[in-house]
């Protein structure tokens, strides 16, 4: 299920929604939250990464309905284990600190740790910010919609 960009906040975030919001959160608050988590919970193991690499991005075109490679995308991913709970994150760009922080936040929610609600609150802020950005952008674009006028013959 892709993350929602509407105004409805789920009571319980699906795992992929959580990962989506953590992928879109700014690095600084994620880092601060991850720091707080590992300060209160020492049992962190980094399983993989953070690794910077690429991912192939294919698009299905409409003429023959075939896929073709448009571009590659720079991503960073990481996996951690926190007190036996698995945490995973992938973020766009070269963002090792943000990605490792997101994986730690993911693990904190998976184990329902003491800062899990703080992670969910951060996701809610991200959701609200996305909705606002989206509405704002459409409001900027709307005046550029063309309204044709029939001319008298």
């Amino acid at each position: 299920m892709p993350i929602r960009e509407d105004h409805h906040t789920p009571e319980v975030l699906a795992e992929e929604e959580l990962s989506g919001y953590l992928a879109l959160a700014a690095t600084e608050p994620l880092h601060a939250l991850a720091d707080a988590i590992i300060t209160s919970t020492p049992g962190l193991r980094v399983l993989t990464g953070p690794t910077v690499g690429t991912a192939r991005y294919d698009v299905r075109e409409p003429v023959e309905a075939i896929r073709f490679g448009l571009v590659e995308v720079l991503i960073t991913n990481a996996e951690v284990e926190l007190e036996g709970s698995h945490g995973w994150a992938t973020r766009l760009g070269d963002d090792r600190v943000g990605t490792l922080s997101a994986a730690i936040c993911d693990a904190e929610v998976q184990r329902n740790g003491p800062l899990a609600d703080s992670v969910r609150a951060l996701c809610e802020l991200v959701r609200a910010d996305l909705a606002e950005q989206h509405a704002r952008r459409w409001a900027e674009l709307l005046p550029t919609v063309v309204h044709f006028e029939e001319l008298d013959r």
Binding site: E16, V71, V73, A139, P143
Partner: protein, 396 residues
């Protein structure tokens, strides 16, 4: 005359490299921040990402700064960096219909499903160089940024709360519904060719050709289109554009625990449909056909050229060598690499060329001497004698 192996220049090369580095740091200007490039020179940044084949706005900005604004050099830096990185995963393929428009025009039709949205474009700005006062411009920019930060809801307030319509249906679908377009949709789902892993050659298939054009150098693709706007009948033919869209496509990956899609963000892309009026003897003249262009970032010229070349290649049936030109000559790194190797020392090559000239000259003189024994000498005018000696001839 033999060749003498020589070496040298290492210190000079190192000094030249250091001069570039030092000049970049010591320039009589403030440091160029990456956000200035990503936000204020977005067309440039997009072009480098598209031609470099890597969506990475911050890295593209670094490449442009390091290359001092040389677009092809910056694309080369980006592609070279990409080649050092591991490929971590495959993203979930996007459907072109998922493109959320930031701009959408339909030159072929006035009344289409969904709005015609001009969006942010230079198409309607006057081509008058802004010679306004720099300090005033700087102050105005700072004031606009501060105002937007203080009162985001006030900018543009009259449209706040407006609901964005659903993604508009593309013109190609309208033409299909009305049975005016050839339907070339395939039922199978062939694995696309990864052009970063295999060498592209004519006959490689459309997915590779589309990938090559998406990564091509903009000027090369535009030029190739401009030189090939003839139909199969060798007459000039005009293509009408259906959709011209710039918008956002979702970047999604599968969640390792649930297998469901995770939205990581978006990339911007430009999409074009080129409607072709079929008029060939073996073509369905009662319908249109459509070529498709999609490139990373905002680059309408390139997407238009790509869409036109796509349909031209389909109609060409590999008859004219156009496919070879598209595949083998439009990559900016390939072309500029070949061109720029000419700047490398060619001392031995050129020396051998000089020696061939000298040998021919000696041979000709010998033949002329033999000829004079049997024939009277020709009358040589001073002008002809002058023309026989190339200006600047090297006499080693």
């Amino acid at each position: 005359m033999g060749y003498v192996a020589a070496r040298g220049g290492t210190e000079a090369i190192a000094a030249a490299e250091e001069l570039v580095r030092r000049s970049r740091l010591n320039a009589d200007a403030s440091w160029l921040e990456l956000d200035q490039l990503t936000e204020r020179l977005r067309y440039l940044n997009d072009r480098v990402m598209g031609e470099g084949g890597l969506w990475a706005p911050q890295l593209a900005a670094r490449a442009i700064r390091q290359a001092e604004g040389d677009v092809i050099e910056a694309a080369h830096l980006l592609r070279a960096h990409r080649s050092t990185l591991p490929r971590l995963c495959e993203l979930i393929p996007a459907d072109a219909d998922e493109l959320r428009p930031l701009r959408r025009i339909v030159p072929a039709f006035r009344e289409v499903p969904g709005p015609q949205l001009l969006g942010r474009t230079l198409d309607y700005t006057g081509r008058l160089l802004d010679l306004g006062d720099e300090d005033q411009a700087r102050a105005a920019a700072a004031a606009a940024t501060a105002a937007a930060a203080r009162h985001p809801e006030d900018d543009p307030a009259e449209n706040a709360g407006a609901t964005e319509p659903p993604f508009p249906e593309r013109l190609l679908d309208v033409l299909r519904r009305t049975d005016l377009a050839v339907d070339r949709r395939r039922d199978d789902d062939p694995e696309p060719t990864d052009i970063s892993q295999v060498a592209v050659r004519p006959g490689i298939g459309r997915s590779a050709v589309l990938s090559v054009m998406a990564r091509a150098e903009t000027g090369a693709l535009v030029n190739l289109w401009y030189r090939n706007i003839l139909g199969p009948d060798n007459h000039l033919h005009e293509v009408t554009l259906g959709e011209v869209r710039h918008g956002e496509l979702p970047i999604r990956v599968r969640h390792p625990r649930t297998g469901n899609p995770v939205l990581l963000g978006h990339l911007r892309a430009t999409e074009v449909e080129a409607i072709e009026d079929l008029d060939g003897a073996d073509e369905d003249r009662t319908r249109f056909d459509v070529g498709y262009g999609l490139v990373a970032g905002h680059n309408e010229r390139k997407a238009i050229a790509m869409a036109n070349l796509d349909i031209a290649l389909h109609r060409d049936h590999s008859d004219s060598g156009l496919e070879q030109s598209v595949l083998m000559t439009t990559d900016g790194l390939d072309a500029s690499g070949f061109l720029e190797h000419l700047k490398l020392p060619h001392y031995v090559t050129f020396r051998s060329m000089i020696e061939r000239k000298q040998a021919m000259r000696t041979d000709r003189a010998r033949n002329e001497r033999k000829g004079r024994r049997h024939h009277p000498a020709p009358v040589v005018t001073p002008a002809a004698e002058q023309a026989a000696v190339p200006a600047g001839e090297v006499t080693p």
